[in-house]
Each structure stands twice: as structure tokens, then as C-alpha cells.
Symmetry: C2
Subunit: 253 residues, 2 copies
Amino acid sequence: MLGKVGTYGFVAEPFHCDFSHRLMLGHLGNAMLNAADYHSNDRGYGMEYLNTVHRTWVLSRLAIEVEDMPKAYDRFTIETWVEGAMKYFTSRNFAVTAEDGRPLGYGRSIWAMIDTDTRQPVDILAVRDGLISEYIETDKPCPIEKSSRVKIEGKGVLARSVPTYYSDVDVNGHVNSVKYIEHALDLFGLDFYKSHRLKRFDVAYVAESHQGDLLKFYVQQAGERYVIRITKSSLSSIEEVEVVRLLMGFVKE
Amino acid sequence: MLGKVGTYGFVAEPFHCDFSHRLMLGHLGNAMLNAADYHSNDRGYGMEYLNTVHRTWVLSRLAIEVEDMPKAYDRFTIETWVEGAMKYFTSRNFAVTAEDGRPLGYGRSIWAMIDTDTRQPVDILAVRDGLISEYIETDKPCPIEKSSRVKIEGKGVLARSVPTYYSDVDVNGHVNSVKYIEHALDLFGLDFYKSHRLKRFDVAYVAESHQGDLLKFYVQQAGERYVIRITKSSLSSIEEVEVVRLLMGFVKE
């Protein structure tokens, strides 16, 4: 039986780095999702098995906190493990480490499981007689705060409307979880990033959106914290529906 | 001394695949650029060395022709080699192969070298006494046509205006070569890709653009071939300047 913690190696690809030669946060998020995918497939409760029984994992929340980001060409590892599994939710953590062993950051995520035919939540512990429970790791520390509900007072200021296209969409036909992050990062310009470091990133996925939907980004600022609410609307459904809530916490440098 | 041909392994990451579970062409282009980067660095004439002498490679043309694309989780390799080197241009080829040895596609590219202070072209053969010439490989076949000049008659139809943001920009502060490809792919919708396969892709990089520039995409269609001209303009320079020409050749499926 494989260990509870999986460790996966990555490289900060040069074309995935920003002007500061550091990996862009969306690509770190993508690497975490890959690590989660490999880890769960290797242990028999991943997408590969789930697709055969018309089930799939759905990312509900992702929080990332970084002290430093890998620079172009740097190798880094992501460890991932399942911290808890309940009937309708499981929590999975991540630790990002530089090649010299220095901790770079951590992640926390919450996942649900759905039936791909009905799109309704299903009992995670019913899959393979609760196989996932055999891999719960509660001793390994993940020294960042859990995601808290992202509270929003009022509507926020409409900062941008973003149409969605072919390359926004993933294998399931939905806008890719990482694309929302990239669009949110793009609300801030190069000049802002030259004086601010993104330290904490919380995202809650509320509903799915599809190619052709128009995403609207509403922003509320409180000091160096920005709360962003993303809604979708479309030609056939003009009413705005909330799809994602984000919290971005910067530190001035 | 390393061989003339370098071989690099890649995985079609699940979140880089489209609705058909196949790798999106922009990510294949990105993998080719990575292979070029690794190959030239390993042989002493890559960005790592060039940056120390205030020189850098600039991609001038890239042509990709594919018979099939890797599917999610598929491993594939990219071989790359320099086919020729002259004073101001070098040509580099690519072969993309599935894990079972099946050829998936090929690429051809043309690169110039510039002085990073003056942004002017410099003599490629003057770097390290013409080191690159020791690695010219002319026997290995690359069975796709060379890039031809992308001819445009008239102005084309303005299909879309695309603002550029933080995540469009690479370590040099310019819009990333691959981002133009992704924006061009996005001119076509999911329904189009369900009935058309992108077989041939030619891109010529004419000028650089920067965050904040507005890119305009002009399209001319001739059957299943689309010629796309991208211009930039900005608040401080409203006149449109051509930055990229693309040719996309589809086959109906």
C-alpha cells in the first residue's frame, strides 16, 4: 500500500513565470491540482476510477499561502495528503518545498464528489467501501489557516467583464478552476505587482460556468485585502448568477 | 559532447486539455519552446549563457503540423535540433512522438538573436566562436513544409479586440509568444472544434507588444484556411502596428 502522503516533482517552466522571473500563482495552483489528481489516481479513488462509475471530484475551495515562489527553472516538490473525509466533503492539504528543502508555501482544499449524470452530490465514503478513509493523514502539519467563508458586504465595484472562450474550458466543458484565478490575477497590473506580493489566496467555487458565459468581476478593497465576486450571465440567461468568490491578500514590498 | 538532437519528455496535463481530452495546441507550442530552451542551455548557447553577455534568442517564426494530439495523461517526447545557423537566423526543428513511437507531429522554427541593451540583431556565429555550428543536424527529416510568408490581401475583418494583462506577459515584459496562439485559438468556438481539427499552424512574430496594449485580430478566410493579422495599439500610441501574422489550416472531421 502506498503511503498517505504523495510527493510530486515540478519545474517552474520559464514561460509560466512573470516579469519577476517567479512562477505565476495560477500555475502553482495548476501544479497542486495535478498533484491531487496523481495522488488520488495512484491510490484508487481518483478521476480515472471515478469516471468508470460515473462519479467525479469537484473542487469546492482552494486556499494557497506562499512565503516565496519558485524562480524560472527551479525544481520544487508538492506533497499532498487527505486530512479528513466525510460523507459529502473531503479536505486535502499541500506543502510546497524548494529543492534545498526550504518551505515555500502551503495549500488547503475542499472537494465534493458528484454523480456525472445527475450532477448531484454523492456519498464519498460509499466509493470502494470507503477506501479513501484508509489514507487519512492527520499528523502532518499544514501551518496555514483554513479557508473561512469569504464575506461580502454590498455588491462591490464592477472592475471588469471577461468573456469566456475555447481555451478557458476544461475536459468537462466547464471553465477551468485555474482560469478564474488567472483572470483574478489580471485585475492587477504589472506596476501593482512590482510593489505588492500576493501572500494569501482563497477561492470558493459556487457554481459552474461555460464557454460563452460573460464573467463579471466585482471588487471590494479593505487595505491590502481584496474580495472579488465573480458572476456569470449569458445571452440565454441574462440574470447574473454568482460562480466564484475570491479573497486576495497582498503584502507591500 | 552532447548529441545534436535532444529528446525531452512531457505529459499532457489534464488541465491543459480541451473538451476532447486532447492537449490544446498552445500547450504543445509551449512544450516545444521549453525543449528548445533546455536543448540550447544544455549545449552552452541557451538563454542562461546569453543573459550573461546581454544577448537573447527571439522567436521569429513557428510552424506546427499535427496528425494527432496527445490525450490527457499521455506521455510524449519532443526531439529538437538545429537544422541550420546563419549570421542572423537559425532554424530549429521539432518532432513530437507518442509513447508507443507513433509520430504525432512536427515543428519548424526560426530564431534571431538580439542585444538586450540595444534590441538590435547580433551575429549568432560570433557567440562562443560559432559554438552552435558544431551542432547542426541536416540528416534528420522534418517532413512538413517550411513556413512560407503569410500573405495578406486587404485588411481582413476585425474579429476581436483583446486587452492584454499581467498573465499575458513573460519574464522579458513582452506578451508571451504562446499567448498570441491561445488568443488566436479562442477566435473559434467549441462547436467549431467539434467538427474541425487544427492541422497546420504558422505564426510569424513581427514586433513585440506589452501589457496594456490592445490587440486587434483581423481575419481572412479561404476555405478551411484562416489568415489572422494581429495589431497592437495603446493609449499613448493609437496608431495600429502589426505584431503577429498567423495562418491556421483546419481539416473537417
